[in-house]
């Protein structure tokens, strides 16, 4: 696969890992946060932790749009699925996320019309094909995904498709990073920046991290060589006592971002004054809602949505794990009440959630080490 295989070249990976080892030395411990859940996933999938030296610790950040969604929002979205006239659509990532009455898949098992779509435009197509039903699209994602939702809404309006609405749960990445840095329990040396979000917002929005917080941030691609090269670039900055924004993912990320995408977002969305993030609490100006000009396509303006706040079960420590304060295995429920099959929180269900990644990739190896038994 072009633009994929080259960045998985074993020889170059080994070389890059050696150089990382050389630069990291052994006297200092490094803590880098990879913000984006896709990076978490890639790190585990390619076994990158095995290649990095011991003194580099990777902390998983809150860049998992499924994980940060409070249960109440899932309940809100699913409340509409009860209406037999409604077709509930969402990405595959959402299907197993638990609400208080079960996940979307469980609702499907109970007879509600719940369907997976791969694109918001699939949901719009479904609406056109089913004029006597209402198609609701449960939109999630950071700025990578929001422009596609925006464009779809613009098309729905332009084509007069009235039986379509979006339940908007898009969130923005910068406030999340700010919340992490504001957190007193965090000690981080640098950031591996979200590559795909940056194709939309560009690299400028991160400048405050370098200027005000004095931490390097390297915008990274998702192949093994991308991530390793980003770590290399971070080490070079730290060793030279520098802190700046760098773009490792040049082949795809334009420094100024994607103007057309930003324009579409501005046309359709506005910032919510505040939004509740699982684990991080209420963060101001961190999420998007649909403008009045598109009210007819906004599920929340068109339908009654319960809006009940659901707090996580007391024992679940999703918040601390999201912030990187606790490792998944330190959560009291990890591996016992909370497993990928019976998830208590979204971090165990989402393939990018720290807990699911940890459970699937590290935990079983760790379990064997400790107990010599199958997990």
């Amino acid at each position: 696969m072009k633009f994929v295989d080259e960045f998985r070249d074993a020889t170059v990976i080994t070389k890059t890992a050696e150089e990382i080892r050389r630069l990291a030395g052994s006297s200092r411990r490094y803590r880098f946060m990879e913000v984006c859940g896709g990076h978490t996933h890639a790190i585990y999938r390619f076994g990158l932790k095995d290649i990095l030296p011991e003194n580099i610790e990777l902390i998983h950040g809150p860049g998992c749009p499924v994980c940060v969604l409070p249960m109440g929002r899932i309940d809100d979205g699913l409340s509409l699925a009860h209406d037999p006239n409604v077709i509930f659509t969402a990405f595959g990532d959402m299907m197993r996320v638990p609400g208080t009455q079960g996940s979307p898949l469980e609702h499907k098992a109970r007879g509600m019309d719940v369907r997976i779509v791969y694109s918001p435009s699939d949901a719009l197509k479904l609406a056109k094909a089913n004029p006597d039903r209402h198609v609701m699209f449960f939109a999630i994602g950071f700025e990578t995904t929001a422009p596609s939702t925006a464009l779809t809404l613009m098309r729905a309006k332009a084509e007069g498709v009235r039986n379509f609405s979006v339940f908007c749960n898009h969130v923005t990445i910068i406030p999340a990073i700010r919340a992490i840095l504001d957190s007193p329990d965090m000690r981080l040396d640098a950031f591996v920046g979200p590559g795909h979000v940056s194709t939309v917002i560009g690299c400028r929005p991160y400048e405050w991290i370098a200027k005000d917080e004095h931490k390097p941030i390297v915008i990274s691609g998702f192949e093994p060589l991308d991530i390793l090269q980003s770590i290399l670039m971070i080490l070079r900055q730290l060793n030279a006592d520098e802190h700046k924004v760098e773009n490792q993912y040049k082949r795809v990320v334009p420094w100024e971002g994607n103007r057309a995408a930003l324009k579409a977002m501005a046309e359709v969305f506005q910032l919510r004054p505040y939004f509740e993030w699982r684990g991080l609490g209420f963060i101001s100006q961190s999420a998007l809602s649909i403008r009045d000009t598109y009210a007819e396509w906004d599920t929340e303006q068109r339908f009654h949505v319960p809006g009940v706040r659901v707090t996580d079960p007391k024992a679940a420590q999703c918040g601390e794990v999201l912030k990187g304060v606790l490792k998944p295995i330190q959560c009291k429920l990890f591996g016992k009440e909370c497993t990928p099959e019976h998830p208590v929180g979204a971090l165990m269900v989402s393939s990018e959630g720290s807990c699911a990644a940890y459970y699937n990739y590290e935990h079983r190896k760790a379990m064997v080490h400790i107990m010599g038994q199958p997990a």
Partner: protein, 340 residues
């Protein structure tokens, strides 16, 4: 009974962890007397001193027809393969149809013809069956169940208890063809792959060939259907208390399957196959086994994808070229496309 789920979900039929929970927690304690024996694809039982292999499987695939095959072919080959990987020659099959009222006759005819051809090709006789018709909406066009009996091959003693550290894991060919073909054929994902089709076929010729020259070295076999290679090998690892180590680069995956999996965020190791088999073979017999497979029609892509090791117990570990490794678990529910 230790099955605690309050209701049956799709996941319970997906062939992964949930299925296993249902079988081990509900069916085994209530139905299967020898609960201590690990369940395998086909049971070998003694009747009046003669050993007979018996298995059953149902087919509920939608759409009925897809590139490379149809439900009828799957219904025959699936049962033939369950018998084959248990180390038996498939002899005879009985078929039950649950048909949905309103099903066009030509659809039924097409499937029955397909079954006839598949049976002939696989060398099995179809000796009987039953038909029921249910109301419109209750059978997704048709459900087919096939039950097969066969004769265990002499000299072949298979089972997880025979597996040893150092044994090699052989895979017959590229994985993921069937599952991805079905996913694409459903038409919901707007993907097209011109060259991709289901790999449905009988694997008995390969089993027979191996048994001829490497019977003493054959330890365990499975046809990795629902849940894919990962699920089958996880079951093996759990049943034998060892670990299956795979080398990612050695696992054959067609480009189009790889592309579809990358696009959808799926792992080929979790995707269903209908014409492949996994065989654990003693190290000293691996080359002989591979050789004979390469000489058997359709077996040219067989290869060693890994080996059995001691740790991590009960797990499947995949190692990449550059030394990184990851654990691949059994499937949890159906494979879902993801965007994140």
């Amino acid at each position: 009974m230790s099955f605690l789920d309050p209701q049956i979900e799709m996941a319970h039929g997906a062939g992964g962890k949930a299925s296993r929970r249902l079988i081990e927690g509900l069916f085994t304690p209530l139905l299967f007397r020898s609960a201590l024996e690990p369940l395998s694809d086909a049971a070998h039982i003694a009747i009046n001193g003669r050993s007979v292999a018996i298995t059953t499987d149902s087919f509920v695939v939608s759409p009925l027809r897809f590139p490379g095959g149809s439900i009828g072919e799957l219904a025959i080959n699936g049962t033939v393969n369950d018998l084959a990987v248990s180390g038996a020659r498939p002899d005879a099959i009985v078929v039950t149809f649950v048909l949905e009222a309103g099903l066009p006759t030509e659809m039924l005819e097409a499937e029955v013809r397909a079954m006839g051809m598949a049976a002939e090709h696989a060398g099995v006789r179809i000796v009987g069956g039953d038909t029921k018709v249910v109301e419109h909406g209750k059978a997704d066009n048709m459900y087919i169940t096939t039950t097969g009996i066969g004769t265990p091959l002499g000299g072949v003693d298979l089972g997880p208890q025979t597996v040893r550290t150092g044994d090699k894991i052989i895979l017959s060919g590229p994985i993921g063809d069937h599952g991805i073909t079905i996913l694409l054929a459903r038409g919901e994902l707007d993907l097209e792959a011109a060259d991709l089709q289901s790999d449905t076929r009988s694997v008995f010729p390969f089993v027979e060939a191996m048994a001829e020259v490497a019977a003493l070295g054959m330890r365990w076999m499975r046809d990795p259907t629902r849940g894919g290679v990962a699920t089958s090998l996880n079951e093996l690892a759990r049943d034998c208390g060892l670990a299956a180590h795979l080398f990612e680069d050695e696992i054959p995956v067609r480009d189009s399957v790889r592309g579809a999996c990358e696009l959808l965020g799926l792992d080929p190791l979790h995707i269903a196959n209908e014409g492949q088999f996994l065989a654990v073979v003693a190290a000293e017999y691996a080359d002989i086994a591979l050789n004979i497979l390469h000489q058997t029609a359709g077996g040219d892509e067989a290869c060693v994808i890994g080996e059995v090791r001691e740790q991590p117990v009960g797990a499947v570990l995949v190692t990449t070229r550059y030394g990184g490794s990851r654990i691949v678990d059994m499937l949890v529910g159906d494979p879902l496309p993801r965007i994140c």
